[in-house]
């Protein structure tokens, strides 16, 4: 563009501006030019939000197999309440505003189960799902929490997808360093406590990987055989750890759930003494609300290893022989006590002939011979060999 043209345009713009300015009403005092114009804005309508706060359950106790999720729900926006103010077990299930939606690997579609909930503050609820029994072990349960406000807004936890449980099975591995800490084996019932091992700061001399394992009562071998079975058993490993001082031994918490129902005070805690090959009572504190028994290992004078909850007064007699010597048709089997792999039991008939060899846990005799046939009525001799020493006794089979 030529210079002449540019400057021509500039001059014309200034003239137009001046002309326009002349049309404005001058402020006689301040000579400020005020502009007036109409401005309008578009306002989006307000929406309700349902927030669910919940600590995910990653594991369900292998023996109790009860999943209970707890948490809180807060509402924001126009809706201040859940679909119904309160839900308890007296109401119809369809009235519940909070659900646990779940499915297992064997289900074809998700299933809903209601949660109990109540308002604790404006726009705030606490919830607790109805106990869900997951009867099979090694089956994943996938769940999410759903809450519905009174205007139909739905909140989810997690916001997408489902929480997967059982990915740790019946074992939890985690490390604790010299700074102390706690490792937890979740029970799956968030109304109650968990199994854990806790060290104070400075107890450990280095980083240690801990394994907490809950034993399946029907599969996992106990450290010794016995006719009286524990209600629940845990193994804390490693059993031997280096500590700066024995007074800094950990505190363990053992979850027992509903195992000793109905009397949750009717329990005792035993620790398996490897050197003596026997269960020994230990002092403990019992929290029946959390269903946990806590043992201070320094006070108890014990180490990590096997800990079990027994019914109070369980008399685990000395000796390896069976508690029962005469087997009637009502008795399907007997157990040789306090034995472990490496020990042997032999049953002989009256002619001194071996009819049964038992070399592995659970060291039970089901009245059958080595060929699987029931033995005859009569008297038999048993011999138990432990660490090279033999104990003998007699058993009678009657019909």
């Amino acid at each position: 563009m030529s210079k002449k043209l540019f400057f021509t345009i500039l001059i014309v713009m200034q003239i137009c501006g001046l002309a326009y300015a002349a049309t404005l009403t001058p402020d006689p005092e301040h000579r400020i030019v005020r502009f007036s114009a109409e401005v309008s804005f578009y306002t989006a309508p307000e929406i309700s939000v349902v927030n669910i706060f919940h600590k995910p359950i990653e594991r369900v106790s292998v023996n109790m197999r009860t999943l209970v999720a707890v948490g809180t729900i807060t509402l924001s926006g126009p809706s201040a309440n859940l679909k119904s103010l309160v839900y308890d077990e007296s109401k119809d299930l369809s009235e519940s505003a909070v659900y646990l939606e779940y499915y297992t690997d064997e289900d074809t579609a998700p299933v809903k189960t209601p949660a109990l909930y109540r308002k604790t503050a404006p726009r705030t609820y606490v919830f607790e799902t109805v106990p869900l029994l997951t009867t099979k072990k090694n089956i994943y349960t996938h769940y999410r929490i759903i809450a519905i406000s009174d205007d139909g807004t739905i909140g989810y936890y997690p916001k997408s997808g489902y929480i997967d449980t059982e990915h740790d099975g019946h074992t939890r591995v985690g490390s604790i360093n010299s700074g102390g800490g706690i490792r937890i084996l979740q029970s799956g019932d968030q109304r109650r406590g968990d199994t854990s091992v806790q060290f104070v700061n400075g107890a450990l001399m280095s980083n240690v990987n801990f394994i907490i394992r809950e034993l399946y009562t029907d599969v996992d071998p106990l450290p010794v055989s016995h006719s009286i079975k524990p209600l629940i058993t845990y193994h804390f490993a490693p059993e031997n750890i280096s500590l700066k001082d024995n007074s800094l031994k950990p505190v363990i918490s053992i979850y027992y759930g509903d195992a000793p129902a109905p009397d949750f005070n009717n329990i005792e805690v035993k620790w398996f003494n490897i050197n003596r090959r026997k269960w020994e009572n230990v002092s403990f504190s019992n929290n029946t609300d959390l269903r946990t028994a806590t043992v201070n290992l320094a006070a108890a004078g014990t180490d990590l290893g096997y800990y079990a909850i027994f019914t109070k007064g369980s008399n685990l007699d000395e000796g390896f022989g069976p508690d029962q010597r005469v087997l009637t048709p009502q008795d399907s089997k007997i157990t040789f006590k306090s034995l472990r792999d490496g020990d042997t039991v032999r049953i002989y008939n009256a002619r001194g002939k071996v009819v049964k060899n038992i070399t592995a846990y659970p060291f039970e005799w089901d009245k059958r011979d080595n060929n699987g046939n029931f033995v005859e009525t009569g008297s038999y001799i048993y011999q138990i060999k432990v660490d090279g020493k033999t104990t003998s006794g007699t058993i009678v089979i009657v019909r």
């Binding site: 005469v326 001194g352 009819v355 005859e376």
Partner: protein, 309 residues
């Protein structure tokens, strides 16, 4: 011939298996036990009531015997014993022999099995003579038994049962010291159960024995070798036994056993004079060494037998 016998015995041993219990505890008769219990074809004294009743038919003098024993000694928690009392009374040869016995096995504090028996046996030579058979001597017998059991449960409850049955026995004495015996026991298979049917297993025993006044070359005097094959409804057992009587027949040395036990025995005969002339007192001892039960100092059996003139 010997090879065939060994082959047959080996085959029988292969099929030998044991699952004995109810009234099978044959721990009676010390002389018989000293020979391992292989007595079915020997059966020539008061022990015969338990092994082959037919053998009492050839006894010529009355005899009373009492035995006591302790089984699997040195095993804490095992207190087993067996007792035996028997009497034999021969009538005239034409009429046969009567006998009676009581045998008891006890697992002290837990269980007891008692057998009461009444027996009758007879030589059948007169019958064989009529049939013109002279190369074998045959004896036959029957033994009526009353069986009792008592068991004390762990909670001290007592249970008992009883039943009747009988045994049949045959004994064949051939030339050259060979004998063959057959005993058929518990023919009626009485039900001895407390809550369920629990019948005693039917038992067949075949016995073979050989007797020689002296084994040549080895010079073993009054030598008896015996073999029993016991069949008990699927459970079989081979038992062997040996006996030699030395010092003019007064001192007996015995050995025998089965798969899981070896027995040894000694016996001595005392002869009396005076008013008891022709009577005899037998003292017998047997020791059973279990081969599979460990830490036991064995089973010990002692008997006294009096043979009347």
């Amino acid at each position: 011939m010997i090879k065939k016998i060994i082959t047959l015995l080996s085959a029988l041993a292969f099929f030998s298996n044991q699952a004995f219990a109810l009234f099978e505890t044959t721990y009676w008769g010390v002389r018989a036990l000293g020979m391992g219990g292989a007595f079915t074809a020997v059966a020539d004294d008061s022990n015969a009531l338990m092994y082959n009743i037919a053998g009492t038919g050839e006894m010529e003098k009355p005899e009373v015997s009492f035995m006591s024993s302790k089984l699997f000694t040195s095993l804490d928690g095992v207190d087993w014993g067996a007792n035996y009392l028997a009497g034999v009374y021969p009538l005239d040869k034409r009429y046969g022999t009567l006998s009676a016995s009581w045998a008891s096995f006890a697992n002290t504090g837990y269980r007891r099995e008692d057998t009461f028996s009444l027996g009758y046996a007879r030589e059948m030579d007169d019958v064989l003579k009529m049939l013109d058979i002279e190369w074998v001597s045959v004896l036959a017998g029957i033994n009526f038994k009353y069986l009792m059991t008592e068991t004390i449960d762990d909670d001290t409850s007592k249970y008992s049962s009883s039943g009747f049955t009988f045994d049949l026995g045959l004994l064949f004495r051939f030339e050259y010291g060979i004998s063959f015996g057959y005993s058929n026991k518990y023919l009626t298979r009485p039900d001895m159960g407390y809550w369920q049917e629990d019948r005693i297993k039917h038992t067949n025993v075949l016995g073979l024995s050989y007797y020689s006044e002296e084994i040549p070359f080895f010079k073993i005097p009054r030598f008896t070798a015996a073999l029993d094959y016991e069949m008990r409804e699927g459970s079989n057992l081979i038992i062997f036994g040996l006996e030699s009587k030395m010092i003019d027949g007064k001192l007996a040395v015995r050995a025998g056993g089965w798969e899981s036990q070896v027995n040894f025995g000694l016996g001595y005969i005392f002869d009396f004079g005076g008013i008891l002339e022709d009577s005899r007192l037998y003292i017998d001892y047997a020791f059973g060494l279990p081969l599979e039960v460990t830490d036991s100092t064995g089973s010990h059996f002692l008997s006294i037998t009096f043979r009347f003139p």
